[in-house]
Symmetry: D2
Subunit: 499 residues, 4 copies
């Protein structure tokens, strides 16, 4: 194994790798607030995830002809309010339909909304949120409102906002500051508008990536101290919270939603099982049946991809350096190979290792004409895309997220999403999966907001698995009689699924 294993041994198979955090303690950086005038990037402290590309079903419905910035426009919703900033408030009706579609597959959340709204467990809660703004998040936000909360919301990613949904939320009175295609300056401006609202002081944070938390911690330390609780969903954000906690600077209880069992299983195995097919189909229309595919890495993501592709008739081989995972691949009926041995025959390569340079330039050189390369693993480092940006190779963008890289002899290799995550870039996350996460977030907010003084210290918590005196359990028992918190989700699953 020699070189290979020393290079890879740190992270032998796919696990949720800690993203490299650009958490810079540079006071200078935040010395002046963003202004409409100066729209240059203020901060390198923006989380990496906030600039990942991201597709959503409705994103292509955007008419992008209107090139003026939302910050330059004055818009008013039908109730006369202009406390929001979205692309076009007139798209509200279309966004409402997207939300209605999403509600169909979010039964746990709707069930919570219906059963607990007379009690208003979030009455008095003033929640600032920073998440992807999509139809599914809208269902969460409107549930929080139904349970009594006031909400102001902004986007955690500069590309991911569904403008119509942002309009629909703004129309109903939620103060949303977000649009698709923000600049980094816009990004921080939106966050600031969300937090800094005269006569309104937030007491809860719902964050995805930690940028909102970071901004408040840095810019509004006095407000931050009075927050009753933070609910954080992402790996990055959770990591930042643990760093703060370790440094003794976390002055607020926080709930880590990222590491709940359901989220882990769904984000990897079940979700990827579907999104690998969806992502490949939407970008390339490739037929799966009979194709020679290599999946690099047989962790949860790889297992999901392989199961789906095998079932659809692809001939799937695996590369894997962890012996246990390799044995599992063997026992599941896949050939375990070295990439170099099969590189000349393969039709599609999918990376899921969480490592760097799993597919090298040398290997790309040897791939055959028309072969497809994409990444389902971590970040954008698995395929050595940088090595393809050399003069002798021609890049042709043939569709959104699809490049033909052309060798001097005419050979084309089809590169998807420039090596970034295929599932984020080229497919949608099923609503049902997002429902599970959103329900967990709602329960975490209820728990932190209602917990008696002193139950949660200035630390990072997991949602307690066992019921008991925990507040949020009341709201589970409103809906079902099961013992563990995850049974709520199970319950609603059964409610929907079972004959």
């Amino acid at each position: 194994m020699g070189e290979l294993s020393s290079a890879f041994s740190a992270v032998p198979t796919h696990k949720p790798v800690k993203k490299q955090i650009q958490f810079v303690e540079d006071k200078q950086e935040f010395s002046r607030f963003p202004t409409k005038a100066g729209r240059r990037s203020l901060s390198r402290s923006i989380s990496q995830s906030s600039t990942d590309s991201y597709s959503s079903a409705a994103s292509y419905t955007d008419s992008s002809d209107d090139e003026s910035s939302p910050r330059d426009k004055t818009q008013v919703n039908s109730k006369g309010s202009s406390d929001f900033c979205v692309k076009n408030i007139k798209q509200a009706e279309f966004g409402r339909r997207e939300i209605e579609i999403a509600e169909q597959d979010m039964s746990a959340l709707i069930s919570l909304r219906k059963r607990a709204q007379s009690e208003k467990p979030l009455a008095g809660a003033k929640i600032v949120g920073c998440t992807h703004i999509t139809a599914q998040t809208a269902v969460l936000i409107e549930t929080l409102v139904a349970l009594g909360a006031e909400c102001r919301w902004t986007a955690c990613n500069i590309y991911s906002t569904q403008n119509e949904v942002a309009a629909a939320l703004s129309e109903t009175g939620v103060a949303v500051f977000a649009w698709k295609g923000e600049s980094e300056d816009d990004f921080w401006w939106c966050i600031d508008r969300c937090v800094n609202n005269e006569g309104w002081q937030p007491n809860m944070i719902l964050d995805d990536g930690g940028d909102l938390t970071h901004w408040m911690y840095k810019k509004y330390p006095n407000v931050f101290k009075k927050i009753r609780g933070i609910v954080e969903e992402s790996v990055t954000g959770v990591h930042r919270l643990y760093q703060l906690s370790k440094a003794g600077k976390l002055c607020v209880p926080a709930m880590n939603v990222n590491d709940s069992v359901t989220k882990q299983k769904f984000d990897n195995l079940y979700c990827c099982r579907e999104s690998i097919l969806d992502g490949l189909k939407r970008t390339t229309d490739v037929m799966f049946g009979g194709k020679q595919m290599v999946v690099c890495g047989y962790g949860e993501v790889g297992k999901g991809c392989c199961a789906a592709l095998k079932a659809l008739g692809a001939v799937v081989s695996i590369t894997e350096i962890d012996p246990i995972c390799a044995l599992q691949a063997c026992m599941d009926g896949f050939r375990v190979v070295k990439l170099n041995e099969v590189i000349r025959q393969v039709d599609v390569i999918i990376t899921c290792t969480g490592n760097k340079n799993v597919v090298t330039r040398d290997q790309l050189d040897r791939m055959k004409n028309g072969s497809i390369v994409c990444n389902m693993g971590h970040s954008n480092t698995e395929i050595d895309v940088a090595s393809l940006r050399t003069p002798e190779l021609t890049w042709e963008r043939v569709r959104s997220q699809v490049d033909h890289v052309i060798w001097p002899d005419g050979k084309r290799v089809i590169l998807l999403a420039e090596g970034r995550l295929l599932n984020l870039s080229c497919s949608t996350v099923p609503t049902f999966v997002l429902s599970i996460t959103a329900t967990t977030q709602a329960l975490a907010l209820i728990e932190l907001y209602n917990a008696p003084e002193g139950r949660y210290k200035q630390d990072v918590y997991l949602l307690p698995k066992k019921m008991g005196e925990n507040i949020y359990c009341r709201y589970i028992t409103l809906t079902c009689s099961f013992e563990h918190w995850s049974e709520l989700i199970y319950f609603s699953v059964c409610f929907k699924f079972q004959l």
Copy 2:
């Protein structure tokens, strides 16, 4: 079984049902040619399939702002020719890329092109074609040109043309008359422009649906008589040919490509296995895992759908009235149910029977909120959509091809493609499948064009399975040494797939 079986007994399971043909022998109908001025529909004789809705990967890239009719514009390609009529010749470059993508997965055709182009087996052939105009057909057309043919082409469907591809073909000199969104008058005008070209008289026909054949038979009987052969791909078109032949009016040998083994297997089992997933995902983003699905009909289409959905974690049940198919469903591990027994629990219903009113209004009334109904079977008759067009129900178009039908109590049922074929309307057909059909079409053209006088009478033929003295076999043997014609396809499959 009573009523049910008597209603259904004629066609117990899914088989390619003969479409009801509107072949009207009304001379009046063609009494005057379409003109630019009068664009009303001239003909009820248009084939049903020519107005089916049809989606293609690139269709949404159309900027539809240009509302002027192509017939009113004068366009010139870079070679100075204006013998074509497409939406916008400037889209040629984009279309070229779509063609290049398609070439990657059409190895049989490319292999035939490369190996036979020095012989030019189609030298002298003047082919008029009437097919869907997509990137894949473009690869076929350019192959025919490479083998020596002159081609003029038009669309067999008023919606299915990829405008960019039509532009790319026109740019290279193929006379294409087609655009997305033709009126019926446009449709016949394009066909006529294709056929009726001064100083150029076609001697071969490649048709899909029979409209071109019909037009020539009716309008240009003298030209029609001199045609050396017709190659027809569709059920409808083949049926029309057999009718003509039966009536003693077919004066030209014709080749039935529709009923070749490979086409049947691929059009049903393998294609539907992939397009059911693709079609559901693109329209609804639904998660398959854990969903209660009912597939009506366990013929080849149903088998394909069920295999895919089961593999992705759906809980699939079957309705089936043919006992052998029902036994197969049992033995394949599916519950065989009556639709009425499970209608209240089901999340998704997929019809694949080839029958009428398989899902009735009464059943739609009992479906639960958020359930999805779609059709993979035949035409648009399986779901009783007409019964949903009543005043008490509200229809909301939430996306292209997606309607929410809303009951007075707020219940929504999600209807896809208004009950038309999901796979045609909402997913793409894999290029590889189209390659198999296109290769067969090319071989059939070669065979008919080169056959010695008298080998083929004025009748409808299947491509002879056994090699021998048949002309087209020479072109197979150029590429491989196998015995049967389908081995060419096999060969190219292996050439591409095998390690």
Copy 3:
């Protein structure tokens, strides 16, 4: 392909190949009856299938210490009758239990028995039967008796009799003449004792292989002429009947049960899917997960084997010369290979082609130590077993049906059932499958016995698919209201399976 394809082209993939029939028109052969004294083989006219090895669940329970021939013993059942000849009447109780086990999975037959026994549609029928004598056949025989028939029975195979079952039948009064391990002389003696019974003349024949029919035709032509009908189950027997019919010598109507749809599907696809696993496990205890397996031939049998092995985690490759089947294998996700390319790596080879010498001595020479070779295809010709019977190779019988063939260098190849059919030799056929065949046989007997004079001529018939005036349909409608005869089976399947 050259040589290969010319050798194989006659029968490119697995289809029920006509067995080579040893139907000798040698009058001499039957010139004298078998006697107790002279037990040498009288006849080369014995059907090949009658000497195939055959395992059954209970066969190893035989105490083989009693070496005396049943023909030399006098046995009496508890009712005082000695009109039977079985191994040991005392085993009746054990046999009864085997029959009771079998009844649990033969619901169609039991249902027919229960519902029709008051009508006695076989009253007056005197049936001679010649089939495998197993618990499942016993359920058939006892059903015939319940419906009014008198039965005398003998074995169609010298190895396949379950002695305990034969005893149990004899105990209840059925005249059975059969035991495990008959000589060929015994075989014909038993048939003769079955037919030639003073004061009892058969009027119906139920045959499996055609030996009984042949014997009666040759030896008792006058009795034969008066037979009302023959029901034949095997390929061989049906072939013999068609020969007779062609030669104008068939003076009795016959029903071909072999070619019914249900039988074909079950005998190949569904049955083999289970018996390949069972046969390999019982003989070798091999783990399937991760094993490199090659299945030669992707017809119905191959498809069944591959589906099962793939599902259990084997890495399965296919060899196939028919391009359509090869394409199917590709589309189902299997690598299509040439045996020579992979022979050195493979752990298990399974032949399912119906051809000769699919695995040659040369290939066996190159297999690795510990690899397994077996046959699921036709007869015993697929593996060139003869080529292994050379002095330099040592054979070691390590278990029943398992030989280690040892090369001079110590390499062992594990050969199962000496290349005969694995599923017949080393696994059991599921009772449910046999139930479907047995129900069909019973219905065919009812139909022929009750049909009005003249409906069936002296020819070979398939059981009519459509109901109507046919007699047997009455007995279907007794049990269900379906239209087609196969619905009875479907009905009982549903009755048993459906929630």
Copy 4:
């Protein structure tokens, strides 16, 4: 859920439950040694597992006519030694063949044997072993001998010994004391003869269940203290060791082989996936296709069973009280049901929960005629078998391990292995799986025997995962260059599997 969940909440899904240990500190009990004369049971301290029923492939080959006790016979092997006690030394040749079969699928162990035997890392080791005595253990024992050890061996279970294998080992000079069907007195006598051998004092223990360790600890404390290390494989034995260690009485380092990753995965998921099919088939010959099956519990065992049965065409439903496992079942496409809802329709129930009374008498009363009940979970408590031993029910033993329980109305329920573990009782464990465990055992022995003074204290260890200065790693590196110890196994897997 009420009652149900309170009853089950302790162990919600299948996990290796700690067996209830009968570890009695009763000095009285061992006050006198077993003698040939007095064969009554001496000890209630025998481990439960030692009396579980156990089947093996070769067990039915036993001629059980020889009823005399091996302890009463004097036997001599061909080398003149009589230092052993087995059923019949003459069966050695047959046993040798079984060992040779086993060697074919134990490549890791054979590879270790071949590469390390010149070094003799176990030279001087005197190992007493107490394991199942099967062909696979024989390969382990002979490997230990090849590496330099002297071995004396006895059985850890009174039923599981393959007499022929015991004979084969004795023939080659290993002192084996074991036969199938020992009494409890025999059991302890054999252990004692193994340990107590004049002029030979053991310095290593390989145990499976802890009985040998217990005996030595109690009876030969002085010998026990000088042992260099104990390698223990079973849950029970490991539990006993931890108890000793906790009590401060463990004076020897011990290695826990039971909890290695590979063993866990194989013992549950992969093994059960195969043995559920094998166990059902060998006992009942049931057809899987189309059967309604309920699997109780969706832990690793349940997942394995379900995957196999679904693939073979069974219609599988799940009962599960843990919501995460239930969600997994949903996402894998199984219906999650309550047993009571489906009990009347089900054909087969398989328990895999690790709990008690998962199937109650009340439910058994409602099962349909011919249904099958069996247990793959823990011990024999999952099915309430005791409740079936009442006067109104008749039990009929129809085959080995198969009982028909007959209700007064004639209904029969088929109970397998009297509710004990189906996989142990009615199927065989694949050799490949045993090879992985045996290789781990061999490496653990090498490690403990060669470790420098003081590296291992008087405690229970897991085999260190990381290489480094550990002794055993040398022997891995003899065979491959991988870094982790499990790579040896991976290596040999690849060596065998990979193309």
